[in-house]
């Protein structure tokens, strides 16, 4: 047996409910029944107080931020984002003992280069896509899986505002975890005397990471809004399609997000070795910075637009 979620929040009965965290705080979304098991605080019905799209999104943002931040996924995010910080601490300790933390062909890799490699390999190629997949696909899929999407859709706000609010919460949550982690890694790895020479690169890195988080999050939010099992599809896209397309000569790489992100990375590629030669071949054909930024913003905007359209038109069937 299955039940269909109420198509749009406007038709829902105008009840006020207790906060979703069970704290008894005033509900963030205004009207609608409380969650099962949560005591309802019955109040006089509020009629005709439908907020605007942005106001609705802001309310969902406010509600989702705490939920997203203090969920079990946060442990995963802490592990993923904490590992580069841990690596940087180890590198710093090794460096302080007079040894080279990283050597390539007997040549010591400088701290600024190590930082660049960590941004390139760990953050842009792994952490940002992984967070995008796990959080982006979960924006809608988690509510469907937990059968709580009904409660969101019965609020007097547009369904699209729910998605946008959750996306904003995802962006704030991941950005304010990833960027401080990058900052810590930078100050752990780069000697103080080298900061003036590399600080502009750090700012560029932070900007690229924010763009990457936005683009991947929007893309996987679309996947989550459209597909029933979005996590598998997201992982295949991020670590199958994106990696393979980047290695295939031709125009296929233009259908990846990483193609536009990596063209913005300010750090020079390593110059020696066979793998580096392959990488140099792969990254020879890169778009200009302006094109990359425009494309990443377009991917973000278009994906979010399609996701909003999908969530407003689709009827979610909740399996019992």
């Amino acid at each position: 047996m299955s039940e269909a979620a109420v198509p749009a929040g406007r038709e829902g009965p105008p009840y006020e409910a207790a906060g979703r965290d069970g704290s008894g705080a005033p509900p963030a979304l205004g009207v609608g029944p409380g969650r099962p098991g949560v005591a309802e605080a019955r109040r006089p019905p509020v009629v005709g107080s439908t907020p605007s799209f942005l106001a609705g999104a802001a309310r969902v943002f406010d509600l989702s931020l705490g939920e997203m931040l203090w969920s079990r996924r946060t442990i995963f995010m802490a592990l993923v984002v904490g590992s580069p910080v841990l690596l940087a601490i180890v590198a710093r300790v090794v460096q302080a003992s007079g040894l080279a933390p990283l050597r390539v062909n007997g040549v010591r890799v400088e701290a600024a280069s190590m930082f660049g490699m960590m941004i390139w390999v760990l953050f842009l190629r792994f952490i940002v896509p992984v967070l995008g997949v796990f959080y982006g696909t979960a924006l809608v899929a988690d509510e469907v899986e937990d059968k709580t999407i009904t409660y969101l859709f019965t609020r007097p706000i547009r369904r699209g505002a729910v998605l946008v609010g959750k996306y904003m919460a995802y962006f704030a949550c991941t950005t304010f975890v990833v960027l401080p982690a990058v900052m810590l890694v930078y100050f752990l790895l780069v000697p103080f005397g080298e900061i003036p020479g590399s600080f502009v690169s750090l700012l560029t890195d932070l900007g690229i990471l924010a763009l990457g988080i936005a683009a991947y999050g929007a893309l996987f939010a679309l996947v989550g809004a459209v597909l029933k099992r979005p996590l598998v599809v997201g992982l295949v896209f991020a670590f199958g399609w994106e990696q393979a397309a980047m290695l295939i000569p031709g125009y296929l790489r233009r259908f990846t997000v990483s193609y536009y992100i990596q063209s913005l990375v300010p750090h020079a590629m390593p110059a020696d070795g066979g793998v580096a030669s392959l990488l140099q071949f792969v990254f020879t054909d890169t778009p200009s910075a302006a094109v990359s930024i425009v494309m990443l913003l377009a991917i973000t905007g278009f994906s979010l637009f399609l996701a909003v359209r999908a969530i407003e038109r689709r009827e979610y069937v909740l399996e019992q």
Binding site: L65, G106, R108, M183, I195, L203
Partner: protein
């Protein structure tokens, strides 16, 4: 938003703001202005004029007490001429009286006067004994800016007790200038270029920083060799002496291309050294310690001479046959036949 969510964002935003603020200040105000965070070099730099082209520092106490020095003294017990001569001239015993030495050369290296260093020696001195010794050698005492000043009119040598436990030694002009520099405050710590290099390497018990033309501009290097050297503007070296020696030599090239050329040259020398050393296990650790580094205009090579290598060299020296006594003159009738004329 709950209280702990607000706290979380307060902390993360704080990290971001602190990091960005520190980076911005370091980038746009200059790293040397962050004295609280960066090292500012030894306090004796207050006597070094702002136009210094070479500055060197040695923590003599640490070097003298090091295990390495004890080993070297055992290897070469008669090598004490330099310190003894210095003691004869100044009354200062480097082995026991001196803690730190700062040496510098200022101005252009075109005059012989500027080619001689100013040396600032910190330690425990018997001023009266030093003064009487200098007087015995013909030195004349005087006062300059309230500082006891001893000059030797023949060789131009001068010594001044600039602070309790600190003497300045050098030419009379250089020592007077050091006293003036301290009084005016216009010293080398205001020279951003020198201090940038000093702060980078001020972590060993001996270091030197200098403009490369201080080496090539004077008579120190043959002109032909100087022409072959890559375009280097600054050089620096730092070392830590304990059981062994760990150090790094850095060069700042004039541009990225020159730095790349220099890296290629150093890489070639490292490869050549590896070939020469071959399978000799005692040198393997030294070769493995060589680290070529640097970014942009900077080139650096790090090295470590482990105490095991010093021990191995000592053992090799001990095993080497002692030089024979001088051969007696051959008797006239045993002299070799002259080569036949062709």
């Amino acid at each position: 938003m709950t209280k702990r969510t607000r706290l979380f964002f307060f902390v993360t935003v704080g990290i971001l703001v602190a990091g960005l603020g520190t980076g911005a200040v370091a980038s746009y105000m200059g790293i040397q202005n962050l004295v609280l965070i960066g090292r500012d070099g030894p306090v004796e730099l207050a006597y070094v004029p702002a136009d210094a082209r070479v500055v060197a520092f040695a923590n003599v106490r640490e070097v003298m007490d090091s295990e390495l020095r004890q080993k070297l003294m055992q290897l070469n017990p008669g090598a004490t001429d330099g310190p003894d001569k210095f003691r004869e001239e100044t009354g200062i015993d480097i082995h026991s009286d001196v803690d730190q030495v700062i040496a510098s050369m200022s101005g252009e290296a075109t005059t012989p006067e500027n080619a001689r260093p100013l040396v600032l020696v910190r330690g425990r001195f018997d001023n009266a004994r030093i003064e009487s010794l200098v007087r015995q050698q013909g030195g004349q005492p005087s006062d300059y800016q309230g500082t006891r000043f001893l000059t030797h009119p023949e060789n131009g040598f001068a010594l001044a007790f600039v602070e309790p436990g600190l003497v300045a030694v050098g030419t009379a002009t250089a020592v007077r200038r050091a006293i003036d520099t301290k009084a005016s405050g216009d010293n080398v710590t205001g020279n951003a270029e020198v201090m940038r290099h000093v702060k980078d390497i001020d972590d060993g018990n001996a270091w030197v920083v200098g403009r490369f033309d201080a080496l090539t501009g004077g008579t120190q290097l043959p002109a032909e060799l100087a022409k072959q050297l890559p375009a280097i503007s600054w050089f620096s070296a730092s070392g830590t002496v304990n059981g062994g020696v760990r150090g790094v030599i850095r060069a700042e090239a004039r541009d990225d291309a020159a730095a790349n050329d220099l890296r290629d040259v150093v890489r070639g020398f490292i490869a050549l050294a590896r070939m020469q050393v071959g399978q000799r296990a005692e040198f393997a650790e030294l070769m493995n310690s060589l680290e070529l580094g640097g970014q942009g205009k900077d080139v650096s090579i790090g090295f470590a001479v482990p105490s095991e290598l010093i021990d191995a060299l000592s053992a090799m020296r001990a095993l080497r046959p002692q030089p024979r006594e001088a051969q007696p003159e051959l008797e006239p009738n045993l002299k070799p036949w002259p080569a036949p004329a062709l």
